[in-house]
Structure formats: C-alpha cells, structure tokens
C-alpha cells in the first residue's frame, strides 16, 4: 500500500502515574503539507509531539510510529533528529549568552576532531539566516535580539539539521502580528520546498490561513482529522471540534454599568531601566467603575512597561506623572503601596512572575491577602483552607485538591489561581496583562466570565492583549499604544480590527 504519508502515528497510548495522557491516538501527516494539531490545553498535543520526537523514549508508550513507511523506535531526541524530525518547543531553547551561530550549531558543531571550524560555522549560518529572512550578523548575541528573531534562529537551527518534518509548538504565542505573519509565510515557503510541518497553535486565524489539514485532540483522544479544502473548514467548525460543543458566543455578554472614574493617570513618563530612553511617553488615561478598558499595541509598544510602572513602580526609572484614585492624588511608590491602594496586576508571565510553582494552590491564593486571614501576623490555617476552597468552587479551578502544586496545573487553571489571589486581595482596579495567553478556548470563556463578573461588581478592569478580537469582544473602550505613546482611543461601537491596527502601526512622525 503506497501512501504519501511522511508520518503515521498509530494507536499511541501514553500514561503518566494516575493519568492517561494519550489514549489510542492516530495522526497522519502527508508529505509536504502543513498539518495543524489542535485541542484545548491538556488535550495531549505536546505529549504526542514529545512521543514523536523521542523525548519520551520508545517503550514508555504503546503504539507505532511510521516515518516514511518505516517503523521507528526513537530512544532519544538525537535519533529522531538524525532522520530529520525537528521539534521547536514553545519555550525557546536558545542560550542567551551565545551568538546566533554558536546557538545554531550547538550540539552539531562544525568541527574536526573536536576543533571547531569557525569559518564553516559562520558561512553556513549566513546562508541559513538568509533562508529564514533574518538580517543579523551570525556573531550577534541571542540576548540582544527580540523574541521574533529568536524564533527565526530556532528555525534556522532546525534547517541546519536538514529537517524533513518540522514540529512547532505554539510558534507565534510570544510574537506580535508582524513577526507571526513572517513566520507563517516562512512555513508556506518551506512547504513549497517539500518540508512538512506540524504546528500546534491556539490561534485559529493562523491555522485557517496556512494549514492544509487539522487533527483535533480532546482529552487525550483523536477526535477528527479535517481537510481544510475538502471539508471547507472555518473557525467555528474547529472550535466545535475542540470543545465538543458549539461555542456560539466566544465572549460572554455583559450589560456595562459604568460609574465614576476610579483610576486616573496623568502625564505618565517612564524611562528604560538600563538604557537612557523613554519607554512611556506622556500617557494619560482613566478607568471608570464597572468599565473594562483595553490597551492594544504591538509587542514592544510599552504596554507591560506601562502596567508595571503603574503597579508600585515595579518597572522603570525616573518615573514622573500623577495617579489619582477616586479623584484623590495617591503615591504608589512600592508594590505594597499599590496593593494597599487597591491595585492588582496579573502578569503576562504567570510561571515566572505570577505563581510560586512549588507551592500549593492554597498558599498561592492567600499570599497577597495573608493579612486578611491572620491575627497578630499569625495565619489562621483553617480559615485559609476555607478561603481557598471558596475560590476553587467560585472560579471552577479543576484540581483534585487545593494542596495540589500549582506547577502541575494546566495553563487555564494556573491563571484561575492567579486571578483568585488578586480577587482575594480585594482590589478596586485590576490590570490584566495578556490574561488568556496560552489558554485553551474553553478556559478562555471561563476567564472572560470572571472578568465580566469583576466589572459587574464595580471594579475597574484594564486588559492588555495582543489578540485584537479579544479586546473587541471584551472591552468597553480601548487605548492604542505605539512606541510608548497612546496613538488612539476608540469605543466599542467604533472599534474594528482595521482601525486598531492603523493606530498600532502609527509611528512617530
């Protein structure tokens, strides 16, 4: 039986202690296609790819992997790479202190008897960089280029291994629209050259743009494989497959009840922490009670810097400007002052800045508000359990116990823990930085519901997001940021993706 499948995974089952991560999963990828692997967080996409690439060695799972018609039993990642299967993980595996060339040939050094031929290395790197369209010197340090370019370096590294099947795990999660666009075009170019790709992504618009076929996983099982052209697939159809139901409404409906101004910022200026340049330039804004305000902007526009500088000056130097809470000027020079004044900041990077991963759910939830459950600084451990249980029920944190380590939770549940922590601190204004990054569609809806509920309780909410549909779906009003300045302000009624994009790309005249 001659097939044009480059890869077939048959009946893959993989169990972890207590959990069946994959159950009888099948995946077929045709030669020279872009195959999207979709599913909610925890559906088993990354696990499947780790089985494929040999991160989980043969024997730790059951089922067969056929690559170009041959059965493969990879014991580690080098064996799969030798056959041209290269995986690029969500968290980039580059070493910041080394140069682009050194990173590309790391573990694959152009050497003879252990002595590196640097001319060869540099020369080959130049060629590779040209192929991926990255205009940087091979000697540039990784730490001095942005995430978008780093992603390209990863791809160049994959190419250097003569990749036949490229696996990308959420390649655009940390990229702005422009870099994402570049990357997707690059994948299309590769396709023409006969390189097949498997792409894991949550971004439906990207999938519909580049993918030839889609395999959907749910709860560790294959749900269906769709052919983009033959089956005439649209975004709603994919969502239906992923969540197993029709999500008619991707954003919960809310009747805004907007009150008085709660937080006002005037003439806010912030300088970069180490360089002598302004990252926030004369920003003025306000948030009202019960209002959800969005900040749109490309990566590097200064959105996170603005949020963190407001939150107790936790970012930036030489900060000037005025902050008013409920009409009264307030000083928020430290994080504790900001928290005391009723500010909360949910970070964009929950693993590194939001959670103590080695601690359990309970301790993470109560960390900021410990004073509420303690007397004379002694924590009431019983009260703490009750509060944690309350949030587990209220925010629907899916976990067997509040004593579960947060490091073991899925992205959506981790985000719910972070939100619980800040809701428990009883803030008046919540700044949510990329609140649904890396979270699956089902959990996103839950997070949106929580955000709406907060607004209904009269809190002011500020959402920073790179996903324009999210802002359009959630916010009453949006500010648009570009190069550290506010370039536009639009209400929900007058907003559109095109309009936001125009302001976002507006550069200094």
């Amino acid at each position: 039986m001659a097939t044009n499948n480059i890869l077939e995974m048959r009946g893959i089952t993989k169990t972890f202690p207590g959990v069946k991560a994959l159950e009888n999963v099948n995946l077929q990828v045709k030669e020279g296609e872009i195959h999207a692997l979709m599913g909610e967080n925890g559906a088993g996409k990354s696990t499947l790819m780790k089985v494929l690439s040999g991160v989980y060695p043969h024997g730790s799972y059951t089922g067969d992997i056929l690559y170009k018609g041959n059965v493969c039993e990879f014991k580690d990642i080098t064996q799969s790479e030798r056959l041209g299967i290269v995986i690029i993980h969500q968290e980039l595996a580059l070493i910041p202190q080394l140069s682009i060339a050194e990173n590309i040939f790391l573990g694959n050094e152009q050497a003879k008897r252990g002595v590196i031929n640097w001319n060869d290395t540099i020369g080959k790197t130049k060629e590779l960089l040209k192929t991926v369209g990255l205009n940087e010197s091979p000697n540039t340090l990784i730490s001095s280029i942005g995430v978008g370019k780093q992603q390209l370096v990863e791809i160049a590294k994959a190419l250097s291994k003569e990749v036949k099947l490229l696996i990308l795990d959420e390649p655009t999660a940390a990229l702005n629209e422009e870099d994402s666009e570049n990357l997707l075009n690059l994948l299309l170019t590769f396709k023409k050259q006969g390189i097949s790709s498997i792409m894991i992504s949550h971004k439906l618009n990207e999938i519909t743009k580049v993918a030839d076929s889609i395999t959907i996983l749910r709860d560790g099982k294959t749900i269906e494989t769709l052919d983009m052209v033959k089956d005439n697939i649209n975004e709603d159809r994919i969502i239906k497959g992923m969540v197993g139901r029709d999500l008619t409404q991707r954003y919960p409906v809310r009747e805004p009840k907007i009150g008085d101004t709660i937080l006002e910022v005037k003439d806010w200026n912030v300088y970069h922490e180490t360089q002598d340049r302004k990252v926030i330039d004369d920003v003025s804004m306000y948030i009202r009670k019960g209002e959800i305000v969005g900040i749109a902007g490309l990566m590097g526009a200064g959105r996170t810097e603005l949020a963190m500088s407001l939150f107790g000056k936790s970012y930036g130097k030489r900060i000037s400007g005025e902050t008013l809470l409920n009409g009264k000027p307030v000083q928020m020079n430290t994080i504790n002052q900001a928290i005391d004044q009723g500010l909360a900041y949910v970070t964009e990077d929950r693993k590194h800045y939001g959670l103590i991963l080695m601690d359990d759910i309970k301790r993470n939830i109560t960390l900021t508000g410990l004073n509420k459950i303690s007397r004379n600084t002694v924590v009431n451990a019983n009260q703490e359990i009750i509060e944690a249980e309350r949030f587990r029920t209220k925010l629907n944190i899916k976990t067997p116990s509040i004593l579960q380590k947060t490091g073991n939770l899925s992205g959506g549940n981790q985000q719910k823990v972070v939100l619980s922590k800040w809701i428990f601190s009883e803030p008046e204004v919540l700044i949510l930085d990329e609140p649904t990054r890396g979270i699956d569609v089902g959990a996103k809806y839950e997070i949106y519901t929580i955000i709406n509920q907060l607004a209904m309780e009269g809190k002011g909410v500020l959402i920073i997001s790179s996903e324009l549909p999210e802002l359009l779906g959630m916010c009453d009003r949006m500010y648009v940021m570009s190069e550290g300045r506010f370039t536009g302000e639009v209400t929900r009624e007058e907003a559109s993706q095109e309009k936001l994009m125009k302001y976002m790309t507006k550069s200094r005249g």
Binding site: F311, S314, I335, N336, I339, Y345, T347, H352, Y353, G354, L355, I356, L357, M358, D359, R363, T366, L367, T368, L370, N371, S374, T377, V378, V379, A381, N382, I385, I386, N408, K421, S425
Partner: protein
C-alpha cells in the same frame, strides 16, 4: 492500615529522615555495645551538637530564601572572642556581655544582609568574604591567643543542668516531671487542634491512628527524659534549643513572615509582585543568621571555657549539611526546622558513634560526605518519581 501507608507515602521525606535517624542509632547502639544510648552519652550528644543545631536553624532560613552562608563559623568565633574580651578582660557581668554579643552578631548579619539583599551580590561571595573577614578579626581581637577562663555562671549555660527542686537522689526528679508536663501539653494541643479541624469539617486521621500517634510521641518524650534523669537531668542547653525549635517552627509555619520567607525562596519575582517585601525579608534573614551564629559562638566558648582563634572552623559546613540532609532544597523554597534538626542529629550521632568505635577522623569525613550525598540523591529521586 491503608490510611497509615498513605500518610507515610505523602510524607516520605520527613518520615524517611526519622527512619534513617533511628536506623543509624540502632546501628551504632549495636556497634558500640550499647554505649551510644547510655544516659551519659546521650547527654554528651546534646552538649556536643547544640551549637551546630543552633546554626542549622538559622541556616535553614537562609537556604529557604535561596541563599547560603559560609561565614557562620567565623562569626561564631568572632563573637566568642569578643565575649571573652568583655567577660575575662573587662570583667563585665555575663548577662550584659551576652546581650552585647548577640547584638554584635546581629550587626554582622546586617552587614552581610545589606550586600546580599540591597546590592544584590551573590550570598556565596558575600559570605565567603565574611568567612575571611571575621576569621581574621577573631585573630586580631584575640591577638592569636586563647582567652580564658569564663565566669562560672556563663559556663553553666553550656555545661550545667536544670536544678532538681524535688531532691531526687538516683533519679533527677524534675526532669521526669518536665517530661510528663510536656506530654500533657502535647496531648491537650493535639486534641484541641483535632476539635477545631472537626468543627471546620475537615478530614482528620481516624481516632485509633490519632491515639497511636500520641502514644508513640508521649512514649518517646518520657523515655528520653527518663534516660536524661538517670544522669544529671536536662542540660540547660537543651532548654534553649527546645525554645528555639518551638519559636522557629511556629514562625515558619504559622506566621505571615514565615509564609513570605517560603514564597520569596520559591519564586522571588512572583513573591515581589504579590506584595512580599523581598529585599527587607532577605536582609532580616541574614540578621537572624548573625544573631544565631553569635549564640552558637557563645555556647561553644562556654562549653570550651575558652575563646580560641580556631573556634568554629567548619561549623558552616556541618550546619549546611544538616539542613540539606533534613530535606531542604538547594534552589530554595523548601525545608523545615524539624528537618534541619533531624539532619543535624544524623550528623551528630554519626560523629559520636564513629568516634566511640574508634574510627579515625579521616574515615569519618569520607562517610559523612557519602551520607550527605546519599540523602540529597534520595530526595531528588523521590521528587522525580513524584512528578
């Protein structure tokens, strides 16, 4: 039985430590023909290891915050030297000298805490510098000589025993009474905790298991105090240790400050953004270490009845080993006071036992090194299995 094995599995690290300690004790009890657990030797064990255990408590906090302190041995020697100058040369009353010494320890800790917390120099480097600086200053203060003798009252802190008000002849009666009193307090608090937990409708261990646990602990306490009572009774130093363990366990488990220290060690950035004053916390952890190092130095000087330039050499290594054997994580965020104490006792019993069977100091070092490595390897193996 099922709940018992579940309880054991979920706390394998803690119980594993206790089991290891018991096994080591049994081993040396056999090898030494029963000398190890004689009342005289038990008393000696406590006296010999007290200063390391005091250091281990402070070191635990430092290690939980993700730092290390290599200077504690030098600080102990330095403070011991100053106390000798105050008491022996200047004839200062010893309570006042103790207070001044502890304050100096705190100031030394503040000096190091400043560099670590506010200037953000890695603690390894700051305390390596401190190790040299304070060892050198010790020699300067003592002019290279040993200074002695200390006042009798001061010596009694490390070598004295609690008085026996009841005048028991063969057996130290007050010691027995203390054992019984502790048992009653323990039963009462455990019972009260159980009631509150039931009132909150939490799951509690089954009644037979609860009783079994209490009986076991009460038995251990009373056998221990009885053994002490057949010699001279409870050493003063044990009282000091006991109070420290109670206070630090309470602070680390029950107070906001303790939580903040764990959070800081677990993820400093996240803790900071959650409102933990990370710099101030780190600073105070080092101040605390300084004070405890000073106390350790005083205890050692009192026991030796002399301040010497060589006091406290390698104390830091024993204290660090105790904390890691006791289950603390090298990356911070994990560790318990009780664990550090048990870790210290493991080292102490091994030192004592190996000396009793006449093993050379050279081989002792090799074995201690291997035990430290094995304990941490066991820890990491367990963690990997769990995840």
């Amino acid at each position: 039985m099922e709940s018992l094995s579940k309880l054991f599995k979920s706390n394998i690290r803690q119980y594993g430590m206790i089991v290891a300690l018991v096994l080591i004790m049994v081993l040396f009890q056999i090898l030494t023909d029963g000398i190890l657990l004689k009342s005289l030797n038990i008393t000696n064990l406590i006296l010999q290891n007290s200063y390391i255990l005091v250091l281990a408590i402070g070191m635990l906090l430092v290690i939980i915050t993700g730092h290390i302190d290599l200077s504690v041995g030098s600080i102990a020697a330095f403070v011991g030297a100053i106390s000798a100058i105050l008491m022996v040369d200047m004839h200062m009353p010893y309570p006042l000298a103790i207070i001044i010494s502890l304050v100096i320890g705190g100031l030394v800790g503040a000096w190091q805490g400043f560099w670590v917390a506010y200037v953000r120099i890695p603690s390894f480097i700051v305390t390596l510098a401190g190790m040299l600086i304070f060892r050198g200053l010790t020699m300067v203060v003592l002019d290279g000589q040993s200074v002695s003798p200390f006042p009798a009252g001061f010596q009694r802190i490390s070598s004295g025993f609690i008085p026996d008000w009841f005048g028991g002849s063969d057996v130290h009666f007050l010691t027995i009474v203390v054992g019984l009193a502790l048992s009653l307090i323990l039963i009462f608090t455990e019972w009260r905790n159980r009631l509150t937990q039931q009132r909150y409708q939490f799951d509690v261990v089954s009644a037979p298991l609860f009783v079994l646990k209490l009986v076991a602990i009460v038995a251990i306490i009373n056998v221990f105090t009885y053994v002490l009572a057949t010699y001279e009774g409870i050493p003063n130093i044990l009282i000091i240790l006991f109070i420290l363990v109670i206070i630090y366990t309470f602070v680390m488990n029950k107070t906001v400050m303790g939580r903040h220290i764990y959070a800081l060690g677990g993820n400093e950035k996240a803790a900071k953004l959650s409102g933990v004053k990370t710099k101030r916390m780190t600073f105070w952890v080092f101040v605390n270490m300084g004070v405890l190092a000073a106390l350790s130095g005083l205890l050692f000087a009192a026991r030796l009845n002399a301040a010497t330039p060589k006091a406290g050499v390698n104390f830091e290594l024993d204290a660090i080993a105790a904390v890691f054997i006791g289950g603390a994580s090298a990356t911070g965020g994990i560790g318990t006071v009780i664990g550090a104490i048990i870790g210290g006792l493991v080292m102490g019993v091994m030192n004592n036992g190996m000396s009793l069977i006449g093993m050379g100091i050279d081989r002792q070092q090799v074995i201690k090194g291997l035990v430290l490595l094995a304990a941490v390897a066991f820890d990491i193996y367990n963690k990997n299995k769990a995840s």
